[in-house]
């Protein structure tokens, strides 16, 4: 009984036809290359964002320090009280700059998907 079943199974297998796609291998390779390229691009974008973040932080610090220096000089001949000037610099200069800088920490921007995030 078992032998007969085996023979029937083998006969059935012989009747199954396999169609070999000659382009399949090439397509799989192309897809793999494409995916590798996409990952490399995403990594490069991520690196660029991190570098940009560091530069933006440096610009925020140095720019705010320069503006503070200028404001201290302006305070020398203006009637505005120094605490008011300090609050103005922090509120209207340093803080907006810092907030804009921290935008770069948004996870999707960091991951390099800014084209989808900012469709501006």
């Amino acid at each position: 009984m078992d032998t007969q079943d085996d023979q029937r199974a083998v006969r059935a297998l012989r009747e199954i036809s396999f169609e070999i796609d000659p382009g399949l291998n090439t397509r799989v390779k192309a897809a793999l290359f494409r995916r590798a390229g996409e990952l490399a691009q995403a990594q490069a974008r991520r690196r660029r964002m991190l570098t940009g973040l560091v530069i933006a932080l440096l610009m925020t610090m140095s720019g705010s320090a320069a503006v503070w220096e200028a404001v201290v000089r302006i305070a020398g001949f203006s009637r505005i009280a120094p605490p008011v000037l300090a609050a103005g610099v922090v509120l209207f200069w340093a803080l907006p700059s810092l907030c804009a800088t921290l935008l770069l920490l948004t996870p999707r921007l960091l991951a390099g998907y800014h084209e989808e995030v900012l469709a501006l």
Binding site: A31, F77, A100
Partner: protein, 172 residues
């Protein structure tokens, strides 16, 4: 060179190098709108006139130094002060104009990005723009409308583009 003059040299140099870049590089100048060039020329010319006039006439520099009494600016720093202020203002206007023109040709919102560049302090707006800008757009071979480069098909007319620049948009 005293600290004040040194402090003023930084914006003057930044401003003059940006003005030089826009003046010498035709491909950059072509992007900047004419109106921005006209608006940039005004403070720059004013700064030049001020620098020459205050150098030639000490009374003019003394008058300005009196007006800015307490700021630490000496009479000798006055031409520098004018030049630094004027060239930096001119360079700033040119840069905002560049952002406007460049955003337009990339299919982004030019007014919005020009505002970001103008409003965000410490020039961080410019940095954000250069980090987040889209790739240059190209004209569709079928309908001629501007489409982002790298697309395999035009989103307006569906015409297949000749060259696929970005692998992320390639058809398998």
């Amino acid at each position: 060179m005293n600290p004040t003059t040194l402090f003023l040299t930084v914006p003057a140099l930044i401003g003059l190098s940006i003005i030089g870049l826009v003046s010498l590089k035709t491909d950059i100048r072509r992007v900047v709108p004419t109106l921005a060039i006209v608006f940039a020329a005004l403070p720059f010319l004013a700064a030049l006139v001020w620098a020459i006039a205050s150098s030639l006439s000490p009374e003019l520099g003394e008058g300005a130094a009196d007006a800015l009494k307490g700021s630490g600016l000496s009479v000798h720093a006055m031409p520098w002060f004018g030049l630094a202020l004027g060239s930096f203002a001119a360079a700033f206007v040119l840069s905002v104009g560049y952002v406007y023109g460049d955003a337009k040709r990339r299919g982004m919102s030019p007014i919005l990005w020009a505002l970001v560049a103008f409003m965000v302090p410490n020039l961080v707006g410019f940095l954000l723009y250069f980090l987040l800008r889209q790739p240059l757009s190209q004209a569709c071979a079928g309908c001629g409308r501007a489409i982002p480069s790298g697309l395999a098909f035009c989103p307006h007319c569906g015409h297949q583009q000749d060259k696929v620049a970005s692998p992320s948009h390639a058809v398998a």
